[in-house]
Symmetry: C2
Subunit: 216 residues, 2 copies
């Protein structure tokens, strides 16, 4: 297998997932800032043009962060970051979806149509007039999740799961691009500190981010 | 188990998935048009306020269409609508995500912020100024998928999968609310006709839709 890696919150999410499972894979670096992921030959393999991706030994080319994590969990079930039973998996998947729909999707779109517009407007249809409302949606999603986190150490279950990793990677990136987590979200702020202290958080920072050019 | 059902494309999607597997579950009807899903007691169980949901015998309350379908596939693996192997599941999940990100998410948001605005503006933050661009995104996503469908009978694999069901249910609904599939998408138009001819398509139409008040 080969991991197509790049800077940015989505590859970081999968690297952190792998670090929690002590999975090491050969990596091929794609120049995301230079747009290498938005043109052939990469788009011949992944027509979505997104990063990261996982190339299997049989040639299958897998894209989409959560899909890659699901596949890696099937190959390396322990520790279970999605779940060891059908119900555990369902609950983790539900919270991962909520994190995405309530927070990371509007946050990412708000970045692409706002602070990231200069980079993204040549790569996709952008909707700049929606940026402020999308960021507001993400803030409201964070407040809603914060209230639901009262008394909980992690988002989906009693232990760390994919839902936590998805949110952490995106929030750590967002803090550097104008969408910091408001400290009034006390439950999530405490959760964020716990996540940041995990060895997998430091181990998954990209060299470009480590060099101080961006976060995450 | 109990299925919390309603009119609308998302419950229809899960009903069609169940029909393909010949799964029958006790149903509890929620008055979606009257907003019953957006207030307690429903939101105490599903803070996302979306439909449908699945209540398990142990009290676990599952929301999110794809999550419910994944759980049902684990209980009833045949016929495999997600996959019988880890690679099959990964490929189906990847295409399901593409269908959602490229088409059904922007299409649904375009509806909520456009034709559906009067119903949705009191229920959530709406972004009416993004409606036209979101619909354009969905149209562009359909064109992209149409090109990739050349020579393929179904979206993800050689047989019907969750990806097909997600797209069919949303497109059948969309045709009734101002976002019909453009016939210039010839591969997808032929695919849509094949999907519409399946017994599961007719079996999953909601009584309110059957009465002619909406599609899907």
């Amino acid at each position: 297998m080969k991991f197509y890696d790049a800077v940015g919150p989505n590859p970081r999410l999968v690297r952190m997932f792998m670090a929690e499972k002590a999975i090491e894979l050969p990596k091929l670096e794609i120049d995301l800032l230079g747009g290498e992921n938005r043109r052939p030959p990469y788009t011949d393999k992944n027509p979505g043009g997104q990063m990261p991706a996982l190339e299997l030994d049989d040639g299958t080319f897998l894209a989409e962060t959560v899909v890659i994590c699901e596949y890696l969990e099937e190959l390396h079930p322990k520790p279970a970051l999605i779940g060891a039973t059908a119900v555990e998996r369902a609950v983790t998947r539900m919270w991962t979806r909520r994190v995405e729909l309530w927070i990371t999707e509007p946050l990412s779109a708000g970045f692409r149509y706002g602070e990231g517009l200069a980079m993204f407007k040549g790569r996709m249809r952008t909707i700049p007039q929606a940026a402020d409302d999308l960021k507001a949606l993400a803030r409201e999603g964070l407040e809603k999740l914060d209230a639901l986190m009262a008394g909980r150490e992690f988002i989906a279950r009693g232990t760390i799961s994919l839902a936590d990793i998805v949110l952490y990677a995106l929030l750590d990136f967002a803090a550097g691009v104008g969408q910091p987590l408001d400290a009034k979200n006390r439950n999530l702020s405490a959760w964020f500190s716990r996540m940041a202290a995990r060895p997998s958080a430091a181990a998954s920072i990209h060299p470009i981010a480590k060099a101080g050019k961006m976060r995450g």
